[in-house]
Symmetry: C2
Subunit: 153 residues, 2 copies
DNA sequence: CAAATTTATATCGTTCACGATGCAAAAGTA
DNA sequence: TACTTTTGCATCGTGAACGATATAAATTTG
């Protein structure tokens, strides 16, 4: 059949797109009480590992463009989770730091990964099989970073 | 370490989120000349398999909400790819059909899946390893559909 | 050192994605 | 048949995601 490869069911990318949307949705019940979104949660993960980072470092870590991250940070600042201060050595930079509220949220978010794992186990049976994807996803992501014109170096 | 599970590198979901964004980005150079976006391409895939479907069937197939699909279809109609006509048996329904332009685009899009596969092979070395994820993603997606409160039944 | 280039971030416009809500048509029920 | 509920789709508001563009500060170059 000539158009066989255009069938939705044959497409890896559609599965990734769907799986990503549904996982984000699975986080929703846990993030909503904290008043944050999934991308905001990702920013917090980055800052909980290392506080006081310039916008660019956060963007690179999340493999997002700065014009995605900037408005994200502006909303988080308005929500009182972070503050953005001018860099001292390099005054073009904006250093992002956690506020008291942002630091304390770590404690409230502590159990979210386990909750997600439990949810997935409950409906898929095992989480081990799913976790096998991790090295494959890493390989794919590494490849795609190159494919997409070395946007993230 | 108490917050070990909150590390970004330990998170499957972040990888899915990133892989999905980057794959969509990898489609961009092939879709842009056609004047369509990745979600619009997905709608076309669905309609190329079976023309004349109500909004709801398209949404269910893509596992999207109708309030995402409706504006998507409106833009596609404005672009001349589809038309939306009132259903005959059930006049609440809007039947989505391909236009001549929409039908003809199939020919132009025919090679896109191969192009993507080639791009991925070029940067990751093999596509077989990546394709192993397909059954795992299907299992995860099935599980998440249930997790997310049976939104898509 | 002055001019050109690069870098860090921000702004703008368009397109998703989805929760909440609205509305009319269909289906179920008293 | 009248009333209630459900269903199919649309509208609205908010938050991403990103291409294109802007701006100021740093860096490089002549």
């Amino acid at each position: 059949m000539e158009y066989e490869q255009l069938k939705l069911d044959n497409q890896l990318c559609f599965r990734l797109y769907t799986a990503a949307r549904l996982t984000t949705g699975a986080y929703h019940p846990y993030l909503e009480p904290l008043g944050i979104t999934y991308p905001q949660y990702l920013v917090l993960l980055v800052l909980w590992e290392k506080d006081r980072q310039p916008v660019n470092d956060i963007a690179r870590r999340l493999m997002l463009e700065t014009n995605t991250v900037t408005p994200l940070l502006q909303r988080m600042e308005k929500a009182g989770l972070i503050v953005r201060t001018k860099g001292q050595e390099d005054s073009r930079q904006r250093i992002v730091s956690l506020t008291k509220k942002g630091i304390e949220m770590r404690e409230q978010a502590k159990h979210i990964p386990e909750c997600l794992a439990t949810d997935i186990i409950k409906t898929t049976g095992s989480v081990e099989e799913i976790m096998q994807m991790i090295p494959m996803l890493d390989k794919l992501i590494e490849g795609l970073k190159q494919t997409n014109n070395n946007k993230f170096k």
